[in-house]
C-alpha cells in the first residue's frame, strides 16, 4: 500500500519537483542535475552542462545551442556537452574519442568502433612540455632503404619538419612551450645539445641535428620511467614547468625491443614491463592531474606482432607480451630483426593515457609526433545515436573520461511522454540543428487553412451543383 502511495506521489509530480528538473529551452525535454563521480584524490572532474543557462554562462551565447543537451527523437540523436575542470576551473584538454566513453542508460549506444562522435569546441593553444626520448642504441644506425639514410636520420628529418616544430611550439598569446630531448641507450640518458630545456624553436631545430647513435642496449622501459618520473623531479625542469603550468607529454621512440643484456629473451621483458606499468598507474592515480605526463610511444620500423590486441587486464604475462612461442626467443639478433615491439609500446601508451604509433617513414613519424602534441579544447560535445524507441522514457547519459583522470558524469534526461517540439535537421556532420518553434506554424497554418477551406467547400459545391443542374426550367407554352 505504501508503495502505491509513493507511486501516486511520484506521478503527481511531487517527487519530480524535488528532483529539480529543469526544462531545456526550445524542447519538451527536462534535465536533471548532473552527477559527477571523481576519485577522491583527484581534483579533476568532468562537468556536464545541464541546461542552456549553464551553457550560456560557460561557452557564451554563440555556441549555447551546441552546448545545450538535446534529444532528437526523430533521428534518435542525443547530444550532451562537457568540460574538464580542475579545482572548479575549466581545464582545456586534448581529448580524442578513444579517451572518452559515452553510455546510454549504462550501455554503449551502438555496436562497432564508432559508438559516438566527440566534437571539440573552443580550441586553446596548449602550454606543453614535450619530453622526447629517442632511442640512441646501435640499431638506429641501420640503413633500411635505398636512400642511404639511417633510421636516426629519418627521426631527425621528422623532428625538424616545420609542422612538427609548430606542433611542439604552438603560437598564441601567453603560450609557452618547452621541449626536453634526450637520447637513451645502455640505461643512460643524454640531453641533446647539452641542454635540458628548449623554449626556442630555432634552438630546438639546431639541437636535433646533433642527435647521434651510440653503442649499447636500449633500456627502453627505464628510459620511459625516467622521463615520466625522475626527469619531472629535476629542479630545473620542475621550476620551469610548474611555474608556467605546462602540460607534460612524454614521447618515447624506439626501433626495437627493450633490451638490457645480451641473453635477454622477450619473456624477460614481461616482469619489467609490469613494473613500468605499475609505476605509470601509481603516477596517474596520485597528485595533480595537470602535472602527470601522458606517454606516447612511437615505433620506427614494422610491427613485430601484426595482429596484437592488448588484453583488457593490467597484468603482463610473457605470452600476452610476446605471443605463443616467442617468450623464450632472444631479443638481440633474433626478435629485434622482426621489427618493433609494438605490443609493449601499446601497453605503455594505454597505461600512460597516450597513443601508440608505428611507422617506417618520415611522414608517419611526423604524424605521430604531431598527434602527441594535440591542441587542447575548452569543451566537447558528445553525440550518439540510438534507436528512437530507447528515447521514449527518461534515460541516463553518461560521459566517462578514460584519460588523464578517471572521472565520469551522468545526467538524466527526461523527454516528455506526451509531446515533442519539431524535430531538428540533421546536418552533413551528423549534428542535429534545432528547429525554432516558429516552424510549427508550417504545420499548423496549412492545417487550419485546410479546415477553413473545407468549411467553405460544401456551400461552394452546393451552389455549383445547383447552377450546373439548372434550377431554371422554361415551361413549354402551348
Amino acid at each position: 500500500m505504501r508503495g502505491r502511495v509513493f507511486a501516486a506521489a511520484m506521478t503527481l509530480g511531487l517527487s519530480a519537483c524535488a528532483e529539480d528538473l529543469r526544462p531545456i529551452e526550445g524542447t519538451t525535454t527536462r534535465s536533471g542535475t548532473p552527477v559527477v563521480k571523481a576519485p577522491e584524490h583527484s581534483e579533476a572532474e568532468l562537468y556536464l552542462f545541464g541546461d542552456r543557462s549553464s551553457c550560456h554562462a560557460a561557452v557564451g551565447p554563440a555556441e549555447a545551442d551546441a552546448c545545450t543537451p538535446r534529444v532528437d527523437r526523430a533521428s534518435g540523436t542525443v547530444s550532451v556537452a562537457f568540460e574538464v575542470r580542475v579545482a572548479g576551473s575549466p581545464w582545456p584538454v586534448p581529448l580524442h574519442e578513444r579517451n572518452v566513453t559515452v553510455l546510454h542508460d549504462g550501455q554503449h549506444p551502438s555496436e562497432g568502433d564508432k559508438r559516438f562522435t566527440l566534437v571539440p569546441h573552443d580550441p586553446r593553444p596548449t602550454k606543453q612540455h614535450i619530453v622526447l626520448l629517442v632511442d640512441g642504441s646501435g640499431s638506429m644506425a641501420i640503413i633500411d632503404g635505398r636512400d642511404g639514410r639511417s633510421r636516426m636520420d629519418k627521426v631527425k628529418d621528422a623532428l625538424r619538419r616545420r609542422d612538427v616544430v609548430d606542433a611542439f611550439f604552438p603560437e598564441g598569446e601567453g603560450v609557452e612551450s618547452a621541449v626536453t630531448a634526450v637520447a637513451f641507450r645502455d640505461g643512460k640518458v643524454e640531453p641533446i645539445g647539452g641542454r635540458w630545456l628548449y623554449t626556442d624553436p630555432a634552438a630546438y631545430r639546431q639541437a636535433v641535428t646533433t642527435l647521434e647513435v651510440g653503442r649499447g642496449y636500449t633500456y627502453l622501459y627505464d628510459a620511459v620511467r625516467w622521463g615520466a618520473t625522475t626527469l619531472m623531479e629535476q629542479p630545473e625542469i620542475r621550476k620551469h614547468t610548474s611555474n608556467r603550468q605546462l602540460l607534460p607529454t612524454v614521447i618515447a621512440l624506439t626501433d626495437g625491443f627493450n633490451n638490457e643484456r645480451p641473453e635477454d629473451t622477450c619473456g624477460d621483458n614481461a616482469p619489467r614491463l609490469q613494473r613500468l606499468l605499475e609505476e605509470l598507474l601509481r603516477l596517474r592515480s596520485s597528485g595533480d592531474v595537470r602535472s602527470v605526463p601522458r606517454v606516447y610511444t612511437v615505433g620506427l620500423g614494422r610491427r613485430a606482432r601484426k595482429n596484437f590486441e592488448k588484453p583488457s587486464g593490467t597484468s603482463v604475462t610473457p605470452i600476452d607480451l610476446c605471443g605463443r612461442g616467442n617468450a623464450v626467443r632472444r631479443v638481440d639478433g633474433d626478435l629485434e630483426n622482426r621489427g618493433v615491439d609494438n605490443a609493449a609500446l601499446e601497453w605503455i601508451a594505454v597505461q600512460g593515457d597516450g597513443e601508440s604509433f608505428v611507422s617506417r617513414d618520415v611522414d608517419g613519424l611526423a604524424t605521430a609526433f604531431k598527434a602527441a602534441a594535440p591542441r587542447a579544447y575548452r569543451w566537447f560535445e558528445a553525440r550518439y545515436t540510438v534507436d528512437p524507441l530507447f528515447l521514449r522514457r527518461s534515460f541516463d547519459a553518461t560521459v566517462r573520461l578514460e584519460a588523464m583522470a578517471k572521472t565520469e558524469a551522468t545526467i538524466r534526461l527526461h523527454p516528455s511522454g506526451w509531446l515533442d517540439a519539431p524535430p531538428g535537421t540533421v546536418g552533413p556532420d551528423g549534428r542535429v540543428k534545432p528547429v525554432s518553434f516558429a516552424a510549427t506554424a508550417a504545420l499548423v497554418m496549412p492545417v487550419l487553412g485546410s479546415l477553413v477551406a473545407l468549411h467553405y467547400l460544401p456551400p461552394a459545391l452546393f451552389n455549383v451543383r445547383r447552377a450546373l443542374f439548372s434550377r431554371v426550367i422554361r415551361a413549354r407554352r402551348r
Binding site: 506521478t11 519530480a16 516528455s416 506526451w418 517540439a421
Partner: protein, 335 residues
C-alpha cells in the same frame, strides 16, 4: 461558424468537427509553446495539461459553435463557453489523476515503468485519453442542459479513443514508415486534431431544427417564388400549391396545367416533410435515379404521399408542359 455557409447536405455533420478539430490543434499548439518556452510544471503534469487543455478547448469550441449558429447573446454565449471549458478542464484533470495516480498503480503495479511519467506508451495512456473525451462530453452536455446526454458521453469517449489511437499510430508508425517519420511531434498534433474532429463529428452535430423546408418555384412563371413550410413554433404545418386564387400558399397559373389544389406539403411534429398529390393531374416527385408518381387514384381511400428530401423536384402537370417546384431545406433564419 455561420449557418448560411452550412447547406443542408450530409457535409453539414462535419461543420462542427472542423471547428472542434481546429480548437484541438490550437490547444496542442498553445501547450507545446508553453512547454518549449520552459514549462512551469513538472514532467508528471505534461499529460494532465495537454489532455485537460484539449478537452477544455474542444468542449468550449463545440458550445461556442452552437451559440454562434443559434445567434445567442454574447454574454450568454461567453458564459456557456466558459462553463463548458471550466467543467471540461476540471473533469479531465480529475479523470487524468484518477487514472494515473489511482487506477494505473493498481492495474499495472508500482514498478518503475508505470510510475515514470515520461514513458510514452499507449498501454498506460489510452485511459487518460478516454477520460479526457468523457470529460469533454460531460461538460458540454451540462452546458447544454443535458440535451443528448448519452450521445455526448459516447461521442466524447469515441473522441478520446480516436485521439489516443492517432497519437499512438503517429508516434509509433509502422516499421516501413519509420524511415520517413518517427517522433512525437506529429503525434501530439495528430492526436489533438483527431480528438477534436471526432468529438465534433460524434458528440454534437448541427440539429435539423436549425433548418426549415421551403417550396420554391422553378419554372419561369413565378420563378423563385418560395414559401416556408413550417412556422417558428415547430408545430405541424401544411402548405397547399395550386391555381385556386384564394387561400393557397403557392399560386401557380392554370395555364401551366396546375390543378386548383394540386399538392400539399406538410411537416409533422418530428420535423419530417411529406408531399401529397391532391389531383388526378400528373404529379411526380423526382430525385436522383428515382421518380414517384403522386397522381390521385380515386380507388384509394387517401391521397398518395411521400417523404421529401432537400433538392427534390415536384412536377405538376404533364411532363415538359407543367410547372415544377422544388423542396429545399434552408436555414431557419432565411427570409
Amino acid at each position: 461558424v455561420n449557418l448560411f455557409l452550412v447547406p443542408y447536405t450530409p457535409m453539414r455533420h462535419a461543420a462542427v468537427a472542423l471547428v472542434t478539430g481546429a480548437a484541438g490543434l490550437l490547444a496542442w499548439w498553445a501547450v507545446l509553446a508553453t512547454m518549449v518556452l520552459g514549462a512551469p510544471w513538472s514532467a508528471a503534469w505534461d499529460g494532465a495539461v495537454y489532455l485537460s487543455g484539449l478537452a477544455a478547448a474542444v468542449a468550449g469550441a463545440s458550445v461556442l459553435a452552437e451559440g454562434t449558429l443559434s445567434r445567442e447573446g454574447l454574454a450568454r454565449r461567453v458564459g456557456r463557453v466558459a462553463l463548458a471549458g471550466a467543467l471540461a478542464l476540471g473533469f479531465s484533470l480529475g479523470a487524468y489523476w484518477t487514472w494515473t495516480a489511482g487506477v494505473l498503480p493498481l492495474a499495472f503495479g508500482t514498478g518503475e515503468m508505470p510510475a515514470d511519467p515520461t514513458v510514452y506508451s499507449i498501454r498506460y495512456r489510452l485511459p487518460a485519453w478516454i477520460g479526457a473525451g468523457f470529460s469533454a462530453g460531460l461538460a458540454a452536455a451540462i452546458a447544454r442542459r443535458f440535451q443528448a446526454f448519452a450521445g455526448h458521453l459516447a461521442g466524447g469517449v469515441a473522441a478520446g479513443l480516436a485521439g489516443g489511437l492517432a497519437w499512438h499510430l503517429l508516434g509509433y508508425p509502422p516499421y516501413s514508415l519509420r524511415e520517413v517519420y518517427s517522433g512525437l511531434y506529429l503525434a501530439g498534433a495528430g492526436g489533438a486534431l483527431a480528438f477534436g474532429a471526432a468529438y465534433g463529428l460524434l458528440a454534437w452535430g448541427i440539429p435539423d431544427r436549425y433548418y426549415a423546408g421551403w417550396i420554391r418555384v422553378l419554372t419561369e412563371e413565378r420563378y423563385a417564388r418560395r414559401v416556408p413550410i413550417d412556422g417558428h413554433d415547430e408545430r405541424p404545418r401544411e402548405r397547399f400549391v395550386g391555381h385556386f386564387p384564394r387561400g393557397l400558399d403557392v399560386f401557380l397559373p392554370a395555364e401551366a396545367q396546375v390543378a386548383e389544389m394540386h399538392i400539399s406539403v406538410y411537416v409533422d411534429r418530428n420535423q419530417l416533410y411529406r408531399v401529397r398529390g391532391l389531383t388526378l393531374q400528373p404529379t411526380r416527385v423526382r430525385r436522383f435515379l428515382e421518380r414517384i408518381d403522386l397522381a390521385y387514384d380515386a380507388r384509394r381511400p387517401a391521397p398518395l404521399e411521400t417523404r421529401l428530401q432537400s433538392g427534390d423536384r415536384v412536377e405538376l402537370g404533364p411532363a415538359g408542359g407543367g410547372a415544377v417546384v422544388e423542396f429545399v431545406m434552408l436555414p431557419r433564419e432565411e427570409k
